[in-house]
């Protein structure tokens, strides 16, 4: 399963995506990401284990992020590999969902009370 959801202290949720988020991978993460979007308010999406992600994977991340932000929550992306980061910056999504390389900084961005 290319998605693991960990609820951390302080109301923060870490979503760990991994492998190839291609057509099949996106189909697997769509529902869990939708649930995260509807139920969590402080979310770090860890992309460090994602080898491939393009439009379909971004779509799932953006939809979930929109749901979180529309309810006053915060979402950030963590440590994408260079190829995935290039997709994110080319799409302009990094202007809408901040990208961090450091877990502590990412946690602080979604839940300042943790630091």
């Amino acid at each position: 399963m290319p998605i693991v959801i960990e609820d951390l202290d302080g109301g923060v949720t870490k979503v760990i995506l991994s492998g190839r988020i291609d057509i099949a991978g996106a189909a697997e993460i769509d529902m869990p990401m939708s649930i995260v979007g509807g139920s969590r308010r402080a979310v770090v999406v860890d992309l460090s284990g994602v080898d491939f992600m393009a439009s379909l994977g971004l779509r799932s991340v953006v939809l979930s992020g929109k749901a979180i932000m529309n309810k006053g929550g915060k979402v950030v992306l963590l440590s994408p590999q260079p190829g995935v980061l290039e997709v994110i910056t080319t799409s302009g999504i990094d202007e809408l969902i901040p990208v961090y390389d450091d877990l502590v900084a990412a946690l602080a961005a979604v839940s300042p009370s943790l630091v």
């Binding site: 057509i23 393009a54 439009s55 929109k66 080319t90 302009g92 999504i93």
Partner: protein, 141 residues
């Protein structure tokens, strides 16, 4: 770097989800056969997903089963990806790049297609031929 010409690799798939998922392993095999650099293969996969999914979602009537043909070739340091569908004429090259959303609330899922094509490809050309949309994308390496 001139080299002997190899016949293009060809994949014919339908718009069924399980069939579309064959695209990536097939691209991996085609990339290996043409010894494409990893970065070029990655660019080709990002663009291929965009173009093939766009054809699957928009070229054919909802619920119908259409066919998409994908070809990969490489020669003299340029890899080419050709995608054909039999939908109504549509030239993505003529479409304007949409400005990016300023906030996540404004953002719509998708819509990055032409931006990806222009970023990852050296050259994009569209041809309407034999009632097919034929999009050719070239990647230098």
């Amino acid at each position: 770097m001139a080299g002997p010409e190899r016949a293009p690799e060809t994949l014919r798939i339908t718009t069924e989800l399980a069939d579309l998922a064959r695209l990536y392993p097939w691209l991996d095999e085609a990339g290996a056969r043409f010894s494409l650099p990893k970065k070029v293969l990655h660019a080709m996969q990002v663009v291929a997903e965009e173009v093939v999914m766009n054809a699957a979602m928009h070229a054919y009537a909802p619920g119908s089963r259409g066919e998409i043909t994908v070809r990969v070739s490489a020669q003299d340091g340029v890899a080419a990806l050709v995608v054909e569908d039999a939908g109504p004429a549509f030239d993505p090259v003529a479409a304007a790049v949409k400005p990016p959303a300023k906030t996540l609330a404004e953002a719509k899922p998708g819509g990055h297609g032409l931006r990806f094509l222009k970023h990852y490809c050296q050259d994009i050309s569209y041809l309407r031929t034999h009632d097919l949309n034929q999009l050719t994308l070239r990647f230098p390496y």
